[in-house]
């Protein structure tokens, strides 16, 4: 089966990610680009660059599973599956002892429970409000005039954190404004924001419970300060994939292979 290739395409709200694997689940290429306003175009572009990186032609890909928020708009897909199943499968593949997956993406965060085969047992998802997602951090980064890397650098893990009590993005933004007006150091505010996301995630985790190892996926896993706080709050070390943003696409590629 080594000559058959499979692709997973995850059209997320912020990033579109493609992973190409062979029949033995070896990753040949992975690509992350911004989704922008047109999901199907982003899928097309990301797929082409992934093919280029893997030095493959379109024809050699025998099955493509689309996933993510724009999964229905991927014209070349042969099947579609939700990103919830895909993150479960992908995380389980990378860390086989995974029992719980936390995916913190741009617009949604999810907690997924999987069995020893990587099959989903249960899941929960944030409510409509963006608090507790990457988007929340981005809004605040703009307010604080920081870029994402500054917002996530481990240097910011100072002991002190400014109290951000609101759980709603709009309220939290006004709290940030008043903290800035009081000349609170920006690191403290950043710390407070991370803490508020972590609390949000924690209550989602608590509502379905922790089983086995916990793997963190999605772009926010790149935020080192937040990872540290989340580990502290859960009292557990987290598995962090090398490339957390492509875990969904990896899972999708594997589902494409399984279904083939």
């Amino acid at each position: 089966m080594v000559d058959l290739y499979f692709a997973g395409v995850d059209v997320g709200s912020l990033s579109t990610d493609v992973v190409i694997i062979d029949g033995g689940s070896n990753v040949l290429s992975e690509v992350v680009i911004p989704t922008g306003v047109n999901g199907s175009e982003a899928a097309e572009n990301a797929f082409n660059s992934a093919l280029g990186l893997a030095k493959l032609t379109r024809e050699s890909i025998v099955a493509v599973t689309a996933t993510g928020y724009g999964r229905a708009s991927v014209a070349f897909a042969t099947g579609k599956t939700t990103e919830i199943s895909c993150h479960g499968v992908g995380a389980h593949h990378l860390f086989p002892k995974t029992g719980t997956v936390i995916d913190i993406g741009g617009q949604d965060s999810k907690v997924i429970q999987v069995d020893s085969q990587g099959r989903m047992l249960d899941f929960t998802m944030n409510d409509k409000c963006a608090a507790g997602t990457g988007r929340f951090l981005e809004v605040m980064a703009t307010r604080l005039e920081l870029d994402l890397d500054e917002l996530s650098s481990p240097l910011n893990i100072s002991g002190e954190s400014a109290p951000i009590s609101s759980t709603c993005t709009v309220f939290a933004e006004s709290e940030v404004i008043s903290l800035l007006a009081k000349h609170t150091p920006r690191e403290h505010i950043v710390h407070g924001l991370q803490r508020s996301i972590v609390n949000r995630i924690w209550s989602m985790v608590a509502s379905i419970g922790i089983e086995g190892e916990v793997t963190l996926t999605g772009g926010v896993a790149n935020n080192q300060g937040l990872v540290k706080l989340l580990e502290e709050k859960l009292g557990l070390p987290l598995n962090i994939p090398e490339n957390p943003q492509t875990v969904g696409a990896l899972g999708a590629a594997q589902i494409a292979c399984r279904k083939y």
Binding site: T81, D122, M125
Partner: protein, 366 residues
């Protein structure tokens, strides 16, 4: 199946001189109103934008209350006999007095208390007195009640109940060939059709002799209203059939088991109230509610349960936690959606529903 459009139907009724009372959720003695020739048009989730109601209600009030008030503020002509506010929850309780005593409308406002908690003889006696008092109130506005009329109203109600029970049974056992959308459209028609029209409609529904092939996955739903048409359609597309319900607007208003044909109307109505299924809005025993849901899931062989919770609905949200916890402990898949009664299906909810069906299918095939 041809079901008349709600607003056109009510409009033409009103034009023909029919008395129509707007009734808010949820439990009320409809037969008593029918006996005064008053048609009951229920107000649950009138469509349209919420504008004026926002000037009267905080943002954290449930959309049923908001939509109802938006509707009432328009002073619709079809509602010519007044409004009835049954006592359902804190929000509707206050809305009733707010409309009556502070906002003011051009038609009378009535209220009807539904006893709360666990029931005993004291409650039964009191409920009968409430019925009696409500009758007296209506008699002061209209003419004295004709006992014959009340009896025939009860007989009509009894026939509707019996037919609904048979249809529900058929749905649970695959003897009904309606998709999710059509089934719940039928259930919701009772909110506005004249009782006789509704009974005729129910009579036209085929209960099949032979069971049909069950759907790929079977689901039970719980909450206040049936899931929105968009959700139901999506479930149809995914191959998931809603086979049983624990909805306030549907099966929580149909007695748990068949009743004898009515002889003494007020006794009949009292008995009927006390054998309705357990309901969050009456705040009965939690164990009993769990047990009831269990029974429905078994009878319908549902594989999972969908809680479609109205945002900010305290009665449902409190019970929800224990129901979900217990069902999860029994490894029954549970999905909770939160609805603001919007007329579209968000991408997020689509993902939730789809992921949940992936889980159900996996389970069915495993």
């Amino acid at each position: 199946m041809m079901i008349p459009n709600r607003s056109e139907y009510l409009k033409s009724l009103a034009q023909s001189g029919q008395k129509i009372m707007g009734v808010l959720p949820a439990l009320y003695p409809r037969e008593l109103l029918w006996a005064f020739d008053i048609h009951t048009a229920e107000i649950w989730d009138p469509p349209g934008e919420i504008l004026h109601a926002n000037a009267h209600l905080q943002t954290t009030i449930c959309p049923i209350v908001k939509r109802s008030l938006e509707f009432i503020l328009k002073e619709p002509e079809i509602i010519n006999a007044g409004y009835l506010f049954p006592h359902t929850c804190d929000s509707l309780q206050n809305l009733g007095t707010q409309v009556k005593d502070l906002i003011g409308v051009n038609v009378p406002v009535y209220t009807f208390y539904n006893p709360k908690g666990s029931f005993n003889n004291t409650t039964t006696k009191y409920y009968r007195e409430i019925l009696q008092n409500f009758q007296t109130t209506l008699e002061t506005v209209y003419e004295p009640l004709n006992p014959e009329k009340l009896l025939s109203a009860c007989v009509l109600g009894h026939k509707i109940d019996s037919r609904l029970m048979a249809i529900q049974q058929a749905r649970m056992t695959n003897h009904l060939s309606l998709d999710n959308s059509a089934y719940f459209e039928l259930m919701r028609a009772q909110e506005y059709l004249l009782p006789l029209d509704y009974l005729n409609l129910l009579g036209k529904i085929d209960i099949l002799e032979q069971a049909i092939e069950p759907a790929r996955a079977r689901l039970m739903v719980s909450g206040i209203l049936p899931p929105s048409p968009e959700v139901l359609k999506f479930l149809d597309e995914l191959g998931v059939s809603v086979v049983a319900d624990d909805l306030l607007a549907v099966s929580r208003r149909i007695p748990k088991f068949p009743m004898d044909a009515p002889l003494l109307p007020l006794d009949y109505l009292t008995d009927r109230f006390f054998i309705l299924p357990p309901c969050s809005t009456r705040a009965g025993d939690l164990e009993e509610r769990l047990h009831h849901i269990d029974k429905l899931m078994q009878a319908s062989q549902a594989q999972g349960i969908l809680f479609d919770i109205v945002k900010f609905c305290e009665p449902e949200l409190f019970d929800h936690r224990l129901l979900v916890k217990t069902l999860r402990e029994r490894n029954i898949p549970v999905l909770t959606l939160e609805t603001e009664l919007q007329a579209y299906l968000s991408g997020q909810d689509k993902t939730r529903i789809e992921a949940f069906t992936e889980l159900l299918f996996d389970m069915v095939s495993a």
